[in-house]
Amino acid sequence: MAQLNATAGMPAPAAQEAAIEVAQLSHVYAGAQGAVPALQDISIRVDAGRFVVIVGPSGCGKTSLLMMLAGLRAQSEGSILCLGRSIHDPDPKRVGVIFQEASLYPWLTALDNIEFPLSLRGAPREERRARALSMLRLVGLDGFGERYPHELSGGMKQRVSIARGLVQDPPVLLMDEPFAALDEQTRMTMGHELLRIWSMTSKTVVFITHSLTEAVYLADEVLVMSARPGRIIDRIEVTLPRPRTFEMMATDVFGQMRDRIWQQIRKSA
């Protein structure tokens, strides 16, 4: 199950296959006072199976970057390769996107929400149901399939979102501050849950967050972005072993890494 992390936080071997390769990406958008540079010269390589977290000050363009990785928004310059092919339009077979809880459809039950991407491409009903049910089990929500989102807690809704992102079994998962709306305790539990699910599915994850603790706790590698125009100003290899435990948060190593990210963000702002 957790074999992909048997090397426990060692830097990935250079020969490993790249899931995402971003080369010299820049983005400029038309603002009220003329062109505004949003992203500048971003080059990233994410190896297959890694958990990469992007942190940065508000408004640095990290959500824009994620939208571009998902093919939901076009960049001005530069290229994005996902699993060796460039990405222009959303491709749910390659990339699953997990948003904040608000993106669940309130008119659908939890199961129907999870089935939604399958029904879009006309998968047979039995197959849809079977896969949705197994996803529901994976995220620990057995028996809650017939509930509507408003009948679920924030953490449960986010589990449904994760199940929906996983149901098409895309090799790459992009997560845009998925736990931002949750309270601190739920957030930590959900982070732990996410790692459990990730270790069972061997996905490549790009995860955006504001929380430095969350970043260090989850990541193999943390990318720090500067304030606008967003650039990658630091790359931190998180050497904590897997599986991660809450006790690790109290260690010196954890604190030093969090401090380093904080210093970088402060310098850039």
Partner: protein, 272 residues
């Protein structure tokens, strides 16, 4: 048992029974002359006596109401979807429509009779337009308030434009559309009855005016009672359909609109 508060449903029925009793007893005991308030029993008596007249009038009125609802709801939803969905059209037209909404459209009714005659056509046209604006405005508002994350998520899951409309935009705007239909239907009833009372040769509103001029109070009240029953029946029907269609609405819609990545991350909004 006896100390417990009665259920609200029972209280409402009790109030209705009390009202009907008062309607019967107040004129019978001479508190009010029958010319001002004919007793319930005399009202029901003429209604039964003249049932052919009343049912014929009711059919005319229903026909007018149904057609004006089709105009108001069909046209209102279509126009609201267009105006709400297309930013340019919205900026151009919404202020105009919103201000038109404040105009008492009944002032136009004489024009409508000149154009369409005193038959059902003028009622249908008037009530249709009278109810059109609220339906259109609430549909437009409903489509505008759809959480952009809903559409973003659908696109990320590979939804085509048609699927985005049928699978996301339509269900997401159902609550506001239903509210508009409920209001639009009620206004169509008002529009038809008012225009029948003003100038007409048939319909339930016409019976009100006709009998009022000859001071036949029981027949006026019989017509009023039928209009009342019609409106309440419509409201209850609309409500029950709405409840069945929009199970998730009771809990309210998610107030957490897309909290995006500050300002820089959202070039789309600058273009919109």
């Amino acid at each position: 048992m006896s100390r417990r508060l009665p259920a609200p449903g029972n209280v409402r029925w009790g109030m209705l029974v009390a009202l009907l009793l008062a309607w019967e007893l107040v004129p019978k005991t001479g508190l009010l002359p029958e010319l001002f308030l004919p007793a319930l029993s005399s009202t029901l008596k003429v209604m039964v006596q003249d049932w052919r007249i009343y049912s014929a009038a009711m059919l005319v009125t229903l026909y007018e109401i149904v057609l004006s609802m089709v105009i108001a709801c069909g046209g209102g939803i279509a126009a609201g979807a267009l105006v709400g969905g297309l930013a340019r059209l919205r900026d151009l037209l919404l202020p105009v429509f919103s201000s038109l909404y404040a105009v008492p459209l009944v002032i136009l009714y004489p024009v409508f009779t000149a154009w369409f005659g005193v038959g059902p056509e003028s009622k249908i046209a008037f009530a249709g337009i009278y109810a059109f604006f609220p339906v259109m405005l609430s549909t437009a508002a409903g489509i505008r308030t759809i959480d952009p994350q809903f559409l973003l998520a659908a696109r990320s899951m590979g939804a085509t434009l048609t699927q985005q409309i049928t699978r996301v935009i339509i269900p997401a705007s159902l609550p506001t559309v239903f509210a508009g239909l409920r209001l639009g239907g009620a206004l169509a009833i008002i529009g038809v009855v008012v225009s029948e009372m003003l100038t007409a040769a048939a319909g339930i509103g016409y019976l009100v005016t006709l009998n009022r001029t000859i001071l036949d109070s029981p027949r006026v009240f019989a017509a009023l009672l039928l209009i009342l029953i019609l409106s309440v029946a419509y409201y209850m029907m609309a409500r029950s359909i709405e409840r069945r269609m929009v199970v998730w609405q009771s809990a309210g819609r998610s107030p957490k609109a897309a909290r995006q990545d500050g300002g820089a991350g959202v070039p789309v909004s600058a273009a919109a």
